[in-house]
């Protein structure tokens, strides 16, 4: 878009993504005295998966042995991939930091008059975070999807650039002493509530700058939702019974289980959900616990406690999966100077292992890693450092590419990604044969996309970039699932038997050529 009007700005710290992790990072950096800009694809306060949900945080008071116990339980669940030091850090950070939200969040006491500091309803929580961020003097760029990082000639990240969806300027470019990447996980365009903007853009930007991924095989979580809706809130389904269209009960396996037992049934036909087991008091309280759940049923004309209704399984990709950008040190860095990662964009193996951290750990990670990444960014930036000229600063025009991508081209590619990455059967029951087929199809998509350049409209650029990002993430997930030959946690290989192993991570990188590596977990004392 040469000749387009550009909004230029500079700051000590630039935060990409204004969701849970980005807001906490921006606040922390501002409190430390840095000038801060947040660039958010949607609107900081409504965007991201926390804004539409209700995150409970990992909350352990500093009382005799409680934290040690919590960490050792989580370490056991992490099956060799966890790091007790990181776990303890995010517990401490959350406990110290979260109550400060009460300046803008109206906590309501429970039936015993006690405030439960760790449980916040999403829309009010993110609204409060935005208000705090603004009050701290942070500048927010809404509707400003980042497209790429700026680097100087030494390879140090010195800012980012992107598109502006609203207003007269059509691009933005911020030069900064350091960047915190907090663009969330990647749900491959699924209908997961609040996830539509989370298309893996940050993963791609970081990879282009030289960062690697880890744990991308842990990307096979599916959540029940009423068919044709986004309402992937899980609470009420803890009382659910499921039936096929002939009225036969679909019985879950004994013991702890995920929704895999529904995948086969859904492939055969409709699955109906029965919520009549929800106790009456909870039925009455539901509108004030999770208003959006009730609104969804009411507007579909369904009485969920008396009528069975069809459900679907919605893919979460890496969101309540685990994998992401590999964290390379205690500073929440990722091996690229000047770039720090926070929240779901980062791999969370160190705090969750191969099982989902949804429900408590992920939010504590978003908050904790946000604060830590912000501190590292402030230290790296120094305040008011003179910034070198970036080596490159605009979206690659790719003028050499033959064809302009039409929406129909992009839609076709999006569909392939969805059919591979959002299929409960393919992702729950992985085999080398199926994964290889997926790999081939995605590689074809990559070759097709490489012949295309984006339309020069703002939206055309955003959508093109989103597709490139989802495709890259899909390929890293698939290659990593192939590389881990045995089942572990949510990664289920049905073609091999589980066996004892020395714990290792699968790292992945590369765009034209995807590569994976086994990295043994460092021995810990």
């Amino acid at each position: 878009m040469s000749g387009a009007e550009i909004l230029s700005a500079r700051a000590d710290v630039l935060v990409l993504g204004g969701g849970l992790a980005g807001c906490w990072a921006a606040l922390r950096a501002a409190v430390l005295g840095a000038s801060v800009i947040v660039a958010e694809k949607g609107y900081c306060g409504t965007s991201g998966v926390a804004a539409t949900a209700g995150p409970g945080h990992w909350w352990v008071p500093p009382e005799k042995g409680l934290r040690e116990n919590a960490v050792s339980r989580r370490l056991a669940a992490a099956q060799g991939l966890g790091d007790p030091v990181w776990m303890m850090r995010i517990i401490e950070r959350t406990y110290e930091t979260l109550p400060s939200i009460s300046s803008h969040y109206r906590y309501e006491p429970d039936d015993n008059g006690v405030i439960r500091w760790h449980a916040l309803r999403g829309p009010e929580y993110l609204r409060a975070l935005r208000q705090k961020v603004v009050a701290a003097g942070v500048r927010i760029l809404d509707h400003a999807p980042a497209a790429g990082l700026l680097k100087d000639s030494a390879g140090i990240v010195t800012g980012a650039h992107g598109v502006l969806r609203q207003g007269t300027a059509s691009e933005w470019r911020v030069r900064a002493g350091a960047v915190v990447l907090a663009t969330g996980g990647c749900a491959f365009g699924s209908a997961l509530l609040g996830a539509a903007n989370n298309t893996g853009d940050g993963h791609l930007m970081a990879a282009e700058a030289g960062a690697g991924m880890s744990g991308m095989e842990f990307s096979s979580v599916f959540t029940v939702a009423p068919a044709r809706t986004t309402m992937t809130r899980t609470m009420i389904y803890s009382f659910a019974h499921y039936y096929d269209s002939d009225g036969y009960r679909i019985v879950p396996p004994a013991g702890p289980h995920d929704n895999a037992f529904l995948a086969g049934a859904l492939a055969r036909g409709p699955v109906l959900c029965d919520l009549s087991a929800v106790p009456e008091d909870i039925q009455r309280q539901l509108p004030q616990i999770s208003p959006n759940v009730v609104v969804t049923f009411r507007r579909m004309g369904i009485d969920p406690f008396r009528q069975r209704f069809p459900v679907t399984l919605t893919g979460e990709g890496t969101i309540r999966g685990v994998g992401g950008i590999r964290v390379t040190g205690p500073d929440s860095g990722c091996g690229v100077p000047g770039l720090f990662v926070a929240g779901d964009v980062a791999s969370r193996e160190q705090v969750t292992g191969p099982v989902s951290g949804g429900g408590a750990v992920n939010s504590a990670w978003a908050l904790g890693s946000g604060c830590i990444a912000a501190e590292s960014a402030v230290a790296f930036a120094g305040i008011n450092r003179v910034l070198p000229e970036p080596a490159e600063s605009r979206l690659a025009e790719r003028a050499d590419r033959a064809h302009v991508a039409r929406e129909a081209d992009l839609a076709g590619l999006r569909e392939v990604i969805a059919s591979e990455m959002l299929s409960p059967e393919k992702q729950y029951f992985r085999t080398a044969g199926n994964l290889l087929k997926t790999e081939v199809r995605l590689a074809e998509c990559h070759r097709t996309l490489a012949t295309l350049r984006s339309e020069t409209t703002r939206r055309g650029q955003q959508k093109f970039r989103e597709l490139e990002s989802m495709l890259a993430v899909a390929r890293w997930c698939t290659a990593s699932a192939l590389a881990r030959e045995n089942s572990l946690g949510m990664h289920r290989r049905t073609d091999t038997s589980s066996e004892e192993f020395t714990p290792f991570h699968i790292t992945s990188c590369g765009l034209d050529m995807v590569r994976t590596r086994r990295v043994p977990v460092e021995a810990r004392a």
Partner: protein
Amino acid sequence: MISVVFDERCTACNECVAVCPGDVFDARAGQSPVIARPDDCHTCFMCELYCRTDALYVAPQTDERSVSHDQAAELSGDFRRESGWDEWGDDPRLRNQHWRLEDVFRRARGV
């Protein structure tokens, strides 16, 4: 999917244009915003929370915009009310009970 803007209720404050994470609306001078890009709608309902005059209606189906105008007119505003926002903020029946969530999970597990 975002379905209706009720022109007669809309004050053209353009709050929805700003807060919509999908950038679905376009502002118009002195008029209600238009739903310019319905296919970009996330079906997140957030615009409704921020519309103080309940001039918006989001259908819960992700793939369907058609909705009875009467139903939309009757139901719109329920999300904002049940969330206890704005003028509903002091109604004790609408107090945020999100803190119950973990207790509900515990009861479902039988503990």
